[in-house]
Amino acid sequence: MNISFDPWVWIGALLTLAIFSFLYRDNPFYKVAEHIFVGVSNGYAVTFYYHNILVPTLFNPLFRGRLILIIPFIIGALYFTRFIPKISWLVRIPIGILMGYGIGASIPATIQAYIIKQVQGTILTPYNFQRWHAGSTGIIWSAILFLGVICVVSYFYFSREQKGILKVTSRIGIFFVMIGFGAAFGYTVMARVSLLIGRLQFILGTWLGVIK
């Protein structure tokens, strides 16, 4: 039993306990921890945005005469029009720019990552069979995968009532989905418990020093 004397360790430990106490019920300790968390994270955000974005990418270059940066400066400033009712609609300009660019850029990315790549991985070809490193059974696995994908997609067919063949396939589809979800859930448990063990080692070891 050799307890820590580092004030930061104490702060970290007390905050940790405060969060855990929430599992029993909401209480003043949790409330304090929660409000500290929100306060500090916003303070850190302010620091980060100022020192790591505004200063290096806007102010410094601007004062070094990179006048083109006045454009983003003005666009950004338009956010503040929100507080001026008469011209508050101008706030749509910076929002529109961020959203438009983000969405535009996401279109090809989505098609590549979510459609083309997924289709490529599903097609039944000798190459895809070997990918399993499962020898002759590879073909069966690919076939199951193929069937599963088709059925799951059919579950998301909205513009027809789920009758007849569509009813069958979408039912199989939802079975695949449920198996997948269950597996993903079970697989995650170990990762989460590891995190818990990590926190407990901090409490019992670093702070209290009851375990080595």
């Binding site: 448990v189 990762a191 418990v193 590891s194 818990l196 990590g198 407990l200 080692q201």
Partner: protein, 287 residues
């Protein structure tokens, strides 16, 4: 009936309490749990064994205090393995935070070995058996530069010695003298070693990663880009199992000691799921 009702709605706090107990208790007694070693870890162990005597191993520490419970045990095992087999070690980080982790691991293991070393020959000496190269930003500079000359990238080591004066560095010039690189990381770094160091210089790469990031890395093992892989506490425990059974090293097995907590946590969840279902079925029949 009353009892069945209770089976169906157990207060969550009871579940939490029991879970907490089964996780904490084993931590106090540190009884290691034996595991069967799975292929990914077996491969990594063999890869380390296969390092020829004239080549060194690079250990890349790339984790911060958050990941110590999962990754530090891996680091200790790898170091123990290397020093027992007299494999020369170079230690480095691509970022500054992990240096502390590396330092503490090195001190612990070197003391552990030198404690019962009698002659100069069988003790672990800095500069002869291992070198702590430290940190040299930006990340890509060392990853690529060490392909030509390690000493040029790290002019001085972590302690400020001129690298080329260290006896070990006279023999270990670049990746050609490196048998294996093991990257212990919770981030993307193991991928970089493959993309740059392996694709360009054919460097063998192994990795130890956290359970959270584990699933992303399995594919690299399948394609053979990783010579071996440790995932989470279980992976670390398996490696501890290897050095205990193969090299007969008697040492703390921190990861294996966490396994009981992991296992019991799973079992508790499973138990409660079963209880819930039993209650559900009995009730179903009653209706």
């Amino acid at each position: 009936m009353k009892f069945v009702e209770r089976m169906l709605k157990i207060d969550r706090r009871i579940i939490y309490l029991i879970l907490a107990i089964v996780v904490i208790l084993p931590m106090l007694f540190n009884v290691p749990l034996r595991v069967r070693v799975m292929e990914p870890v077996q491969k990594l162990f063999n890869a380390v064994e296969a390092i020829p005597p004239n080549k060194a191993m690079i250990i890349n520490f790339e984790y911060d205090p958050r990941d110590v419970p999962e990754l530090q045990p891996m680091a200790l095992s790898i170091l123990r393995h290397a020093f027992t087999r007299r494999i020369k070690i170079l230690v480095l980080s691509l970022y500054v935070q992990p240096l502390g982790m590396a330092q503490s691991a090195l001190t612990q293991i070197t003391e552990e070995f030198n404690k019962n070393a009698k002659t100069n020959a069988d003790s672990i000496l800095y500069g002869r058996d291992y070198v702590f190269l430290g940190w040299q930003p930006p990340p890509l500079v060392p990853i690529l530069g060490m392909g030509e000359s390690i000493a040029n990238v790290y002019k001085t080591d972590y302690y400020g010695n001129k690298t080329d004066t260290l006896p070990l560095m006279k023999r270990i010039k670049n990746y050609r003298n490196v048998g294996l690189l093991v990257s212990l990381s919770s981030s993307d770094v193991p991928r970089w070693w493959i993309e740059y160091a392996q694709n360009r210089f054919g460097l063998k790469v192994g990795a130890g990663v956290t359970a959270v990031s584990g699933s992303e890395f399995y594919s690299y093992l399948q394609t053979g880009q990783f010579s071996g892989l440790m995932v989470g506490m279980k992976g670390a425990a398996e490696y501890e199992e290897m050095i205990a059974s193969e090299l007969h090293i008697k040492a703390r097995r921190k990861a294996s000691e966490s396994l009981p907590s992991l296992t019991y946590a799973h079992l508790v969840m499973i138990a409660f799921i079963i209880i819930g279902n039993i209650g559900y079925f009995i009730k179903g029949r009653k209706k």
